[in-house]
């Protein structure tokens, strides 16, 4: 194939056009695109390139891994599982009966601060084996209703908790209805430790998703206890931050939700007494409940995963780079050696 052909023929077209020969009028102008001749860079995987890429990755990843591991280590976290301990010894055989009964469910826990915790200290409750992402559950809500009182009766999506006694429940649906309703009180050195429960939810949710004029109403009091009947009917939804937090459904069956913030520093060795109302039923499905106090880092809460993963990937890349270097040195292979083309060895054969 003569590489000059296209350009010369294109030139020919131009002159032909001017002379009025319209035979080739359908011929598009020669362009690099139509001839598939756009300039292209054609990288290939040379040993140099690949090995240095792997080395580079390991050089970048290992420090990041170390840094994130440190960040995670810096976070001080107190986790206290209380679901079984808060059942009185006598009721241990029938936890579900206890939690559904009307006894006093107050429970006292003591937490010891292992290291100095700088404010803000976040207070979470953690639920295990709780499927907020279950399909029936996650869909059972009405964002329209939450947003504006005009859509109060827009509850079709909320089954099976859409209305009570013929009235639309606000907020409707399983998610709202099953609101977590344990409460925590912290005392430190016999002093009430203030928990700031403002701004624990997303600002965008307060502003846009949960209406300022929507008030909770029409809650039934069934046998199964969700927490939503505890909502204060005089407060608009946009101020019901526990609900807003709860309604950001979790993607995993183990999740923490923010309960509040403690805005004082805690010193190592400090003892915190927690008085909690153990209302929420996780006993039917063997779910765990935990109270978590945690500081935060630039990466969020305590989570070693990222650091370890970075170190692993970085290490692996380093290992691969070494392996490739060794293979390269031990068994050098010339790239693009035509003698490897089989048809050069046995003509005609494949």
């Amino acid at each position: 194939m003569n590489s000059d052909t296209p350009s010369s023929s294109a030139g020919g077209t131009g002159s032909a056009d001017t002379t009025g020969a319209r035979r080739n009028s359908k011929r598009p102008k020669y362009s690099r695109f139509t001839q598939q001749e756009l300039p292209a860079c054609k990288p290939i995987l040379t040993p140099k390139w690949v090995i240095s890429a792997f080395l580079l990755v390991s050089v970048v990843f290992i420090p990041i891994g170390v840094v994130s591991l440190f960040a995670s280590q810096d976070v001080v976290e107190i986790v206290d599982r209380y679901d079984s301990d808060c059942i009185p010894a006598g009721a241990r055989n029938n936890k579900v009966g206890f939690i559904q009964g009307s006894q006093v469910k107050t429970c006292n826990r003591t937490l010891r601060v292992p290291k100095r915790m700088k404010q803000p200290i976040y207070v979470y409750y953690q639920l295990d084996n709780f499927y907020q992402n279950h399909r029936r559950y996650v869909k059972s809500r009405s964002d329209q209703q939450l947003r504006s009182p005009r859509n109060e009766n827009d509850t079709s999506a909320c089954k099976p908790e859409e209305n009570a006694n013929g009235m639309s429940i606000v907020p409707c649906g399983l998610v709202a209805w099953s609101l977590f309703n344990d409460t925590y009180n912290f005392t430190h050195n016999n002093q009430q430790l203030a928990i700031n429960k403002r701004d624990i939810s997303w600002k965008s949710d307060r502003d846009r998703k949960f209406g300022k004029e929507v008030y909770p109403k029409n809650f039934q009091n069934g046998t199964l206890i969700g927490g939503a009947h505890l909502l204060d009917p005089s407060k608009p939804l946009s101020e019901q931050e526990d609900l807003i937090v709860w309604m950001r459904t979790a993607a995993l069956p183990t999740f923490r939700k923010l309960y509040g913030k403690i805005e004082t520093d805690l010193q190592a060795g400090d003892v915190i007494d927690v008085t909690l109302e153990n209302n929420y039923n996780t006993y039917s499905f063997d779910g765990k409940k935990k109270l978590v106090l945690s500081t935060t880092s630039w990466l969020g809460g305590k989570n070693d995963f990222l650091g370890i993963a970075y170190l692993t990937v970085g290490g692996l890349c380093f290992f691969l780079a070494m392996v490739f270097i060794i293979i390269y040195l031990v068994k050098p292979r010339q790239l693009g050696d035509p003698s490897y083309l089989s048809w050069n060895r046995n003509p005609g054969g494949h």
């Binding site: 011929r27 139509t34 292209a40 995987l45 993607a251 183990t254 039917s284 693009g336 005609g348």
Partner: protein, 1105 residues
Amino acid sequence: MKRYIYINDDDLAQDLYCDNRISNRKYTIWNFLPKNLWEQFSRFMNQYFLLIACLQLWSLITPVNPASTWGPLIFIFAVSATKEAWDDYNRYLSDKKANEKEVWVVRKGVKKLIQSQDIHVGNIVWLRENDEVPCDLVLLGTADPLGLCFVETAAIDGETDLKTRVIPSACMGIDLELLHKIKGVIECPIPNKDIRRFDANMRLFPPFLDNDVCPLTIKNTLLQSCYLRNTEWACGVSVYTGNETKLGMSRGIAEPKLTAVDAMIDKLTGAIFVFQIVVVIVLGIAGNVWKNTEAKKQWYVEYPNEGPWYELLVIPLRFELLCSIMIPISIKVSLDLVKSLYAKFIDWDDQMVDLETGTRSNATNTAISEDLGQVEYILTDKTGTLTENKMIFKRCCIRGTFYGNENRDALSDVELLDAISTGSTDVIQFLKVMAICNTVVPIQSKTGAISYKALSQDEEALVRAAASLHMVFVNKNGNVLEINFNGLLLRYEVLDILEFTSDRKRMSVVVKCCLSGKIFLLSKGADEAILPHARTGQQTRTFSEAVEQYAQLGLRTLCLAWRELDYDEYQEWSLMFKEANSILVDREWRVAEVCQRLEQNFEILGVAAIEDRLQDGVPETISTLRKAGINFWMLTGDKQSTAIQIALSCNFISPEPKGQLLLINGKTEDEVCRSLERVLLTMRITNTEPKDVAFVVDGWALEISLKHYRKAFTELAILSRTAICCRVTPSQKAQLVELLKSCDYRTLAIGDGGNDVRMIQQADIGVGISGREGLQAARAADYSIGKFRFLTRLILVHGRYSYNRTAFLSQYSFYKSLLICFIQIFFSFISGVSGTSLFNSVSLMAYNVFYTSIPVLASVLDKDLSEKTVMQHPQILFYCQAGRLLNPSTFAGWFGRSLFHAIIVFVITIHSYAFEKSEMEEVSMVALSGCIWLQAFVVALETNSFTILQHLAVWGNLVAFYVINLIVSAIPSTGMYTIMFRLCRQPLYWTTIILITMAGMGPVLALKYFRYTYRSSKINILQQAERLGGPILSLGNIEPQLRSLEKDLSPLSISQPKNRNPVYEPLLSDSPSATRRSIGPGTPFDYFQSQTRLSSSYLRNSKDN
């Protein structure tokens, strides 16, 4: 079944049979929608998508908004339907043009100009010279007093020579005026597609002659789409019209072609579908079990104790919908898009423009470009496809003197011109034979220029050559020929014509010189038909050497001879000849015998060599494609010796002295069977040797083989890389294609004439050469090209790239949908196997339709190797032919990759976004971003050449992902409100994404590198060679050898006698009926000539570069 046609009966003609309206349309306005929808829904994929879309309307089970499926579905259907409608509209337009052509037809006794579509059966149609015949006619009258007319039947059988047609004996001598009023009845068969037979009877009504029944044959017909030539006018009665004509019946409906790649994609889709069903069943059962054990305890889910009857189905159906994206709806759109782009690239290609005529290559069928890269067999027509279909007188040998060499034709050879001007008797006699011994009709136009109309292209070439050597055949006046030699007018009266038959292999004329009254016999013919009959004493060795030498050059040779006849001898013979001609039984044999009596004691004059010039680059094209592992079959209507000669000259058999021809022939079944078995045996033996064996079969033997020994013939077809089939009919061509297809070979048929149309339609890929024989083939073909040599580029460049690109694109499409689907499946394990979708509707739809489709579309520009490298190493096509880039095992690789990536994305996402960060929308977006990043890098890794557009598509898409999601995140009413803004501010998000990307790509890169460097495929090696050290030559390339060959073997020096290796000889020369089965004058199978040709053109090319 019979059809009775009343000639010229206006009342009867109207209703009985259809009118002459041609319709190739598939739809009408009314049935378009239902028929098109029905066709579209007959594809499995479409049924599947419809089912999914319908299921999604059930809100209980749908995980996402139904619009996410309905939108693309409707879009896809609209696009396909529009395309179909447009194609059909174009067919309608071309039909309309043919239907509205005006023709002269007798209506109520008066000639009228009407539209072609209004012709009815029984009408009398008048045609003028060069008119196209509008429907099948039975001749009634012509301008010729003997009732002859000439037609060109190229559109029907591809033979370009003129054929004579004669009016039925009953119509002989009817006055021109009376032809308007002729009445009668024709009894003929119902319409059929046999173009060689027409067994009918005609009876004219009084007053026209008697009531006798006059038999009609195909000789009395003018078939639709033929052209009337050399005849001032002709008229005939229409017998078959519209789509019922012989041509219309044999047209056949072109079935939509499915490429091997499509078939493979369908297969893989089927496999994925099965996989999906298994997943759905497993997850459905798991979901129901979980529901009954665990979910009942989850009070907050509030499962009712008693569900509806279909309760058990709900969870499996939810999973079905969740997994429905496993089969990407976008793949069809993407494939259609890229396929039409491949076709456009072919249309646009400036290197496939025939500069002589300015014809561009054109891809009519936009859907099958990948198949071009997988061609295994090429079945090619000869005349007009390999050759230019232009016969040119090249050289001659007169009385031992060779005229013409490789630099100069004989026509411009000074020696010959000298000989003519000096009046050498031999030369002049030679020229006379050239000018007279033929059936050519000279036509003098008003300007005085003479044009020749000939039945045979060879004769025309001879007459033309004679004319340019001052022996001008001026006029034919009845039986008197006028020849102008250097201003001297010579007149000869033709006494007899001893016609050419393929048995006699010669033709002669007996002429009387008007001046001297002497009678001559002038003959020309194949050497074996002339040389043995030389007069005693004449040495014929020079001539046979000349013949041999010319044949090696790939020229067609004719020996010219003459003899003076005694008046008495002639008289005596003439009587016998007349007698033989009027005999009824065995006439042909008798005539041949009588001719034989006269055709002896020849004074041999010389040998003329005619070239049916090969198109430019044919040998190179064939040898390149042969190196690419493509097998060639030549199917031609021509005779065996010509076919073999052409095959020789165009590298049909590898250019090394190892070719061998095996002939299959025989007149009876037994002979053919024996011959076939012998060939098969030889073929089996030689198959292990590196020897190029070809078999030659003629139409008759082929017919028998296909009918009775199909199995043996099929085996032969598989064993043989090369075959030459001569004297085959269009339907046999199609049968051969069918045969190869039935052995699961990808076939490409290339041809230029109407006789190739059926084979072109039958083959997986039909290529038409828009050449001299009109556009019939080009119109029916999937691709039309201007010259045979463009085939290399079509296959090696366009076909190969298309295959590679589609292979990547289709597997990638599955990869990306499997990736997201696996994540959904994994998520279902942590969401109570309840069928929750991790991703929201918008993301899912955009992922499939937008984020992952755009970057991969840019892969239509990807080139793994440069065009130059591919041309240098055509063997690389093997990867495409064998389907190495798209098959279950490569697919398994992609499947594994998507599984691996899904695990990476899922595990990393749920671990880094655990606990307090495990918010549904955020997790979903993190996972989605991970997928997008991975897919961008996967595309980048799999891209071989980055043009600016690819960079734009891959990285631009990544940017677009963020832009789009940021925009969506700014809309309060969506579930994604603020999510993307929040994520982009988190260091955690970016560290997670980087981790996902590296963890996902690292192993893939390592594996690819390892295979690329240490387990490299041929493609890899060539890539490396191309990009590191510039293009390399194969060590085993033939070019260097050729150069050395050329040094010691110039074409002129071939005259030395060949020491023939027995290998060259046909193995089966002992077969009974064969006198000499090799190529005419025993042309040995060697390829020196073609080699030198190749090498010289190679040198030429390299100089140009």
